[in-house]
């Protein structure tokens, strides 16, 4: 079995494992080592051929393998690069790579509306986490941002193309979980958009999983729209006997009191659902009596939903223009009197 060293931590992994999977194995072995795991916005282990697009998981490979120790000339996408025996990988230990990753995050944000205050995804958004860890406080982009009108695709899903980062995950869901893909990417470059084929509504048993795989607020649940901020809801693991083939019936209920506001798949520590669920479970069973509740769901990863218990994986570099000193401001009389 090949041995790979990521940021100085060595692990032995099965043949054919990617760098990202190996890093996650290190993180699962010891929580303290989770800093070696590169962020991933488009890769999804449960979807074939996903990954490679967003470029946030880029890593440097200073040593290719024992057999061929030459360094790889360019940063490589860790989600799609297979480990070789003796490979050495730098994730957080290479300053040029951190610079490149910060660049990718900046690029992802220049056309993003940053409308988190009115976005249903806020609090469980991968892009929020990513920019919290790798972004800067201000953008250097001063031009008009690309915008699209939000559209309904089917009666349960809302598409806010403006927020999309084109990770292609939802396209892969449609390709691999449902029959007869009716949506995909049209147009090119920064005008590319997710769209349904001649505005056809997406209507099949597993379409709701597009909402779960969406790393941002581009695809949201219309039945949960503006119902609550996610951090005001209580996530509970629950299950039911579902007779849709392919659905495990294992879900998370997001409760406010006894009211089921939303049903989603169970997301693991890497933000991926453990199993896909059908639309009946997701949209059709908003009644607590329909479910066997297992207990509270532990959410540990997200920046906002952690309610102040969130810690950065690494120390942020000092910003060139420091943010105003808040305690200083609070001392000022006119602010105190207000």
């Amino acid at each position: 079995m090949p041995k790979v060293t990521i940021d100085g931590i060595t692990i032995e992994v099965p043949e054919g494992t990617t760098i990202l999977q190996a890093a996650r194995m290190i993180g699962e072995r010891n929580r303290a080592d989770r800093h070696v795991v590169p962020p991933a916005m488009c890769y999804y282990s449960k979807l074939e051929t996903s990954g490679g697009y967003c470029r946030t998981c880029l890593v440097k490979v200073p040593k290719g393998s024992d057999k061929d120790p030459r360094p790889m000339p360019k940063p490589v996408p860790s989600c799609r690069t297979t480990v070789m025996d003796g490979m050495e990988v730098a994730n957080t230990t290479d300053p040029t790579l951190i610079d490149a990753r910060n660049g990718v995050v900046e690029m992802l944000l220049i056309n993003h509306p940053l409308d988190c205050p009115i976005c249903d995804q806020a609090g469980e958004c991968d892009l929020q986490d990513l920019s919290y860890e790798n972004g800067t406080a201000a953008s250097r982009y001063e031009f008009e941002r690309r915008t699209f009108e939000p559209i309904d695709i089917g009666d349960t899903i809302k598409l806010h193309m403006t927020r999309c980062i084109l990770c292609y995950r939802c396209v892969k869901v449609a390709e691999q979980l449902t029959d007869g893909r009716v949506h995909g990417v049209i147009n090119r470059g920064d005008a590319a958009e997710i769209s349904t084929y001649i505005s056809q509504a997406i209507d099949n048993d597993f379409s709701g999983n597009m909402i779960d795989v969406c790393p941002v607020g581009a695809l949201t649940d219309r039945t949960f729209r503006f119902a609550s901020r996610v951090w005001f809801t209580k996530p509970m693991d629950a299950h039911r006997d579902c007779d849709t083939s392919g659905c495990t019936g294992k879900v998370v209920l997001w409760l406010k009191g006894d009211e089921v506001l939303r049903v989603t798949g169970r997301k693991d520590q890497w933000g991926e659902v453990e199993s896909f669920i059908c639309n009946t479970c997701r949209f059709g069973k908003k009644d607590l009596a329909a479910w066997t509740v297992e207990g509270p769901r532990n959410i540990d990863r997200h920046s906002v939903i952690g309610q102040g218990h969130y810690t950065l994986k690494r120390v942020q570099p000092v910003l060139t223009s420091p943010a105003p000193n808040v305690p200083e401001l609070a001392k000022r009389k006119e602010l105190k009197d207000r």
């Binding site: 470029r55 982009y141 590319a192």
Partner: protein
């Protein structure tokens, strides 16, 4: 006069048709290869010739061919990349328009060497009339038995299909081309696997430029060693250069690699010098390669005379060198504005980015907008460093080379012509006139550093 291999007979009457082509020694390489050579021997000749990919990257063709996987029972394909969309490049069009049978002959010989029984020509949509010419030529060749079943009684079968693209620069990238050929969205694939292992329809595939395949004809006819005698060092053979811009005699020239740059740009046999003003800058290999000041085009930073070859043009790396690229040569005179030209390039890459990976999708648009602001007299001093930073964050971080191609022209323009960018910030009113350097050429404070 230098030797010509591809264009030797290009001005003969009737060369476009099979009869005229045959009368000038056409299809000799097919006869030689199929009757007297083993496929491996043809590959060996190509290796010996030192032929390098003529599409831009300059990868040794023989080596590419020898990487082709040969699993039993799986078809192999040859795909000819005729999606010639690099701005400034029009050599393949000229070849296909004038002498289409040369390409077809090269394809038959190459397919025989590679063991491919189906080949495709992926031609850009804007070359629709050229696709017609090719189809007509393929029809003639098939009727005469140069294509189809059991060619020359050797038991070798080959069919060639022409596929017309729909107008995307990105489909010139080999894996995007294959996706497009399969009928999908033209997005580049992640590599590995390389097309030599999993290409068209997941089968082993060789993708080569039109000129590369055409060059196989003289290599098989005269032998690889004979071909390798032309040129200098690892740049062997002849190269088609499409010259444009502010030169007296624009056109497509076949040159022996190693021709001095000074001779190419100033001699009447080629470009014939500048069109009445003074040369300012040169882009020798298509819009993606770094732009260099005229002085650095003639001589390297070390003061050596520069030659038209892969090695000599890239001497000095990105700091003072450039690349031979696809041979889309164009020169600027002192009336041209480098900022405007850079903006034009950036606009092109912005329009042509496929949008798959984030640095290129977002970064190309950003470059375009900042350059637009500078050129239209709305720029600020910090914009120049901003541009530098954006291109730095695109380069090397994308799936395919389009990101690099978008970044390099911006980087080189700032590196060599920073003073001109600064002029755009300090003389905002002047640059609002679109022909600002035509009336009053930009005077550089100092000529570029040549040791």
């Amino acid at each position: 006069m230098a030797r010509k291999l591809l264009f030797e007979h290009i001005d003969k009457p009737g060369i476009r048709g099979l009869e005229g082509y045959r009368a000038n020694g056409g299809y000799r390489s097919v006869e030689k290869a199929l009757r007297t050579m083993a496929p491996e021997a043809v590959v060996e000749e190509v290796k010996k010739s030192g032929l390098r990919g003529r599409g831009g990257a300059g990868f040794p063709t023989g080596m590419k061919w020898s990487f082709l996987a040969k699993p039993v029972g799986v078809p192999r394909y040859l795909v000819v990349n005729a999606d010639e969309s690099e701005p400034g490049t029009f050599k393949d069009r000229y070849l296909m328009e004038r002498i289409p049978h040369l390409l077809i002959e090269g394809m038959v010989t190459s397919c025989f060497a590679l063991g491919a029984n189906t080949a495709f020509i992926y031609i850009r949509g804007e070359y629709f009339h050229v696709a017609r010419i090719l189809e007509q030529a393929i029809g003639e060749a098939r009727a005469a038995g140069w294509l189809g079943r059991n060619i020359l009684g050797s038991g070798f079968d080959l069919d060639i299909h022409v596929h017309v693209g729909a107008g995307a620069y990105i489909c010139g990238e080999e894996t995007a081309l294959l996706e497009s050929l399969e009928g999908k969205r033209g997005n580049p694939r992640l590599k590995p696997p390389f097309p030599a292992v999993k290409g068209l329809y997941q089968c082993p595939t060789v993708v080569n430029n039109v000129e590369t395949i055409a060059a196989v004809v003289p290599i098989v006819n005269d032998g690889g060693e004979e071909y390798a005698k032309i040129g200098v060092g690892r740049s062997t053979g002849t190269k088609l250069i499409s010259a444009g811009g502010n030169v007296k005699r624009p056109g497509v020239y076949e040159i022996e690699l190693g021709l001095p740059c000074d001779e190419f740009i100033n001699s009447d046999a080629y470009c014939g010098g500048v069109d009445g003003r003074a040369f300012k800058a040169v882009v020798p290999g298509g819009s993606s390669v770094p732009i260099v000041p005229y002085e650095l085009f003639l001589r390297t930073a070390a003061g050596e005379p520069r030659l038209m070859s892969y090695e000599s043009l890239s001497d000095g790396g990105f700091v003072s060198g450039t690349m031979l690229g696809s041979g889309g040569f164009y020169a600027y005179n002192d009336a041209q504005c480098i900022v405007r030209s850079t903006w034009n390039h950036a606009r092109f890459y912005h329009h042509e980015s496929c949008g798959q990976c984030s640095p290129c999708r977002e970064g190309t648009g950003w470059l375009d907008k900042v350059l637009e602001r500078l050129e239209l007299g709305e720029g600020r001093a910090e914009d120049i460093d901003l541009l530098w930073d954006i291109q730095r964050k695109i380069e090397g971080n994308t799936i395919c080379p389009l990101g690099d191609a978008a970044a390099w022209p911006v980087a080189s323009a700032i590196r060599h012509f920073r003073d001109e960018f600064e002029y755009h910030v300090t003389h905002r009113q002047k640059v609002k006139d679109p022909r600002h350097f035509e009336r009053e050429p930009f005077r550089r404070a100092a000529s570029p550093q040549i040791a």
